[in-house]
């Protein structure tokens, strides 16, 4: 097949059967690849609401992008999709690295895991040869060990390993799937789903090529787009200083959430910045995912104190914020250690940081006590106890480990005493990523409607900050005036979110990194449509590919509709909806219910969804060529006739 590898690999873990399915070109045209096709497969394979995400009926799908494995810049990303254990709702989680490209070279676009294995296994994919292998010897190993042992035993360092650490084995609800040791599909607990299926790893070695419809045309356009992206100022800064290179800028806006979202500004954020990693020589290497022009990933080594010598991949902006700012741990070396533990145990650093900060505040308020938590007390800024607690979480050790491994929503429900008020998750139940949504209104809306929970990885509306000429141009295109390029407005946020939603879905589905198209704006939908066309031979333009994006967003929404999630789930953490920002230009701003509601009303209207339930009308689905989906949801509202 052209563009796609053309095959979906199915593995039934209980029956120990393996089969392949030809990828239907029509499916590719409607849902593009990776995130899009994953979403459709999940919809089709989980036929009923209410299944246990950690039970045999959940399906775990890995998908690489339509353009993954090609020279399209920064197009090597992989999407993992399942019903999420943090939320009991739709989950897509995305990772960089080189695993996705290797899967494509082995001849598959998607891997679908059905049911659960009786004993620990790993899956070994070598082109057409696919085996389910015994993994009892691997069970209990961390991510680094698993990767090294498998590469050694299978005799090839080129084998790409996606695996879980102890976090996933012990069903921590925010366990990550890791690949190439340091690249995480972190959010939402896909690692726990993999653990529940008793799949320790998927090892891949592929020797094929990706065939393209117009190789020469593709090569030329990909090179042009690559050069454009290389010139982008955002991309350059990401190369120089990584994702945490922007941390000081965010802090200057008083938008760096810290001490469990109580404050937005640190007096001296230097230890948490990418500039510090470079200047103080923590940085050993800049690292790129497959075909990446940006190479924002870091490889660092701690230098001072008890954690000196620890080396790891990262820390990213989110890791510095979650494990540093939120816990008031302003110690680069300790954060590197905490980051390394998240990597090797396979834990999402965002959720890990959030549960720890919640626990610290709970101890401070006397809601958790040393006595009730096996003699452990977490305090803001206490590195050693925090690092110990990360281990307790990964192994679900003791009362504290077990409580926090459930994620902040369940932990607050268990502890009670109003602790939901400082639990930084929304009604869906996922911990919010480290964005100050009180002073970034499009982000606030995007976070509230994100089907997996409040974070920036379904829709990143970076343009609203107006931080680059490209961003300002886009805001002008979407709203009619560049004056709306400020995150403090609520006007036109629904329009801004709608464009970014579709663009992000296309980005993920083709395998592109968000830093190409919705955080930097160097790769636009027109480029993506043209590359898709040259790769697959299917005629495509900007309008059609953005419509495919909207179709993907809509089917993801439908998964949650089928689960019964309505408008009440589209909200933000209590603290952000009820307590104002503490300082800075946005002092006093909040994500109040009233403000959120006005944006939501417009957002649903733009989608042609019912404002009362937030559910799509039957007609909306039919218009998006989703009639088959509409037929399976019985209670869909009908559009009122005017």
């Amino acid at each position: 097949m052209l563009g796609w590898a053309g095959k979906i690999l199915h593995v039934d873990l209980a029956k120990k059967t393996i089969w392949t399915e030809e990828l239907d070109k029509r499916l590719g045209e409607r849902f593009l690849g990776a995130r899009g096709i994953n979403a459709k497969l999940l919809w089709d394979l989980i036929k009923e609401p209410g299944i246990d995400p950690l039970g045999p009926k959940n399906i775990l799908i890995f998908g690489c992008g339509t353009l993954t494995g090609t020279t399209a810049p920064s197009s090597g990303r992989t999407t993992i999709t399942c019903k999420g254990p943090a939320t009991n709702l739709y989950l897509k989680s995305n990772m960089g690295g080189h695993w996705g490209a290797e899967l494509k070279f082995a001849g598959y676009d998607h891997v679908v895991l059905h049911d659960v294995a009786e004993n620990p296994v790993y899956i070994w994919i070598q082109d057409e040869n696919v085996e389910i292998e015994n993994a009892s010897d691997l069970w209990g190993l961390d991510v680094r060990e698993t990767t090294e042992v498998l590469q050694k035993d299978l005799g090839d360092k080129e084998i790409k390993i996606a695996c879980i650490g102890q976090g996933g084995e012990n069903l921590v609800r925010f366990a990550a799937v890791m690949n190439s040791v340091y690249h995480a599909a972190g959010r939402g607990g896909a690692g726990a789903v993999m653990g529940s299926k008793k799949v320790k790893a998927i090892a891949v070695r592929g020797t094929k090529d990706v065939e393209l419809w117009d190789p020469d045309g593709f090569r030329k356009l990909a090179l042009k787009v690559r050069k454009n992206l290389a010139k982008d100022s955002g991309a350059q800064s990401l190369y120089d200083y990584g994702t945490s290179g922007s941390l000081e800028f965010v802090n200057n806006l008083h938008a760096l959430p810290n001490r469990n979202f109580k404050y937005g500004h640190l007096k001296d954020p230097t230890p948490l910045t990418g500039q510090n990693l470079v200047n103080e020589e923590y940085l050993l290497r800049r690292v790129g995912c497959f075909s990446c022009t940006i190479s924002c990933h870091r490889f660092v080594q701690a230098k001072r104190g008890p954690y000196a010598g620890t080396f790891t991949g990262g820390p990213e902006y989110e890791n510095f914020a979650a494990l540093g700012a939120q816990s008031w741990l302003l110690d680069t070396d300790a954060i590197i250690k905490a980051n390394e533990l998240c990597n090797i145990y396979g834990l999402d650093a965002i959720s890990t940081g959030t549960v720890l900060a919640w626990a610290m505040e709970s101890f401070e308020r006397g809601v958790l006590t040393k006595k009730s938590m096996d003699g452990i007390e977490l305090k803001f800024g206490d590195a050693d106890t925090m690092i110990k607690a990360i281990e307790l979480i990964a192994f679900r050790k003791g009362k504290l480990g077990n409580l926090l491994a459930e994620g902040v929503k369940r932990a607050a429900e268990k502890v009670g005493k109003d602790s939901y008020k400082w639990a930084i998750c929304n009604s869906k139940g996922l911990e919010q990523s480290n964005v100050e949504t009180r002073s970034a209104k499009a982000y606030a809306l995007a976070f509230a409607v994100n089907p997996r929970g409040p974070d920036h990885l379904h829709t990143e509306t970076f343009a609203e900050f107006g931080a680059s000429p490209e961003a300002i141009d886009l805001i002008k295109k979407l709203t009619g005036s560049k004056k709306w390029a400020s995150p403090y407005f609520t006007e036109y946020r629904p329009e801004i979110v709608r464009w970014h939603e579709d663009c992000y879905a296309v980005t993920d589905s083709l395998g592109f990194c968000a830093f190409t198209s919705t955080a930097a704006y160097a790769v636009n939908p027109e480029n993506m449509a043209e590359l898709f066309h040259l790769a697959t031979g299917i005629p495509m333009n900007e309008e059609k590919i953005m419509l495919a994006g909207r179709r993907i967003i809509t089917i993801e929404k439908c998964f949650n509709v089928r689960e019964g999630a309505d408008r009440r789930f589209d909200d933000l953490p209590w603290r952000l909806m009820s307590e104002p920002a503490a300082s800075g230009p946005a002092k006093g701003m909040m994500n109040s219910k009233k403000e959120l509601n006005s944006m939501l009303n417009k957002y649903y209207q733009l989608h042609e969804w019912d404002a009362k339930t937030s559910w799509p009308y039957k007609e909306t689905l039919e218009k998006l060529d989703l009639k088959d989906v509409a037929e399976q949801i019985l209670k869909l509202p009908n559009k009122k006739k005017k």
């Binding site: 494995g69 090609t70 020279t71 810049p73 090597g76 080189h98 490209a101 070279f105 680094r144 990767t147 090294e148 590469q151 050694k152 360092k157 080129e158 390993i161 190439s180 040791v181 340091y182 020797t207 094929k208 090529d209 990706v210 065939e211 393209l212 190789p215 020469d216 593709f218 090569r219 090179l223 690559r226 290389a230 190369y239 050993l284 290497r285 800049r286 690292v287 790129g288 995912c289 497959f290 075909s291 990446c292 022009t293 940006i294 190479s295 990933h297 490889f299 080396f311 991949g313």
Partner: protein
Amino acid sequence: MEEKRFLFLDLDACTGCRSCMAACSLLKEQASGLGKSRLWVPKMDGICLAVPVVCEQCANAPCENVCPTRAITRDTKTGALLVDAQKCIGCKECVWACPFGAITVRKGLAIKCDLCDGDPECAKVCIPKAIQFVSLDDGGFKKKWSSLEKRVKALATIVGGR
């Protein structure tokens, strides 16, 4: 005489993205992949080490010297060592002789970097400038050899140990 240029590979700048491999394959084989690339970038995941390796177009080239049919000759224009498909018998002598593993034999024909006739694709796609197409004046052989020494050591780390 035309100015001679060579590929300068910088271990410290290489991010291991393998864009060069995919680009080489796409240009030379009309398909994007790793298996048919003229370059290779072996890696070690745990320490994020990646070593770009390609034909060094050696001055006293073992491949040229051992070739029983004299199929490998130097292009006077670019300085690249080229394989004559008519003369090559696919015996792999050059593969064994190359100290860098920069030649493969596929379908009975030796395949190696030909510097894209003086306009190498790999250098074009390498944004971090780990692969640069430079003239002898841009630092000269000294730079080339120090880079090579570093890369060979790094390669030994990957191939030799854990």
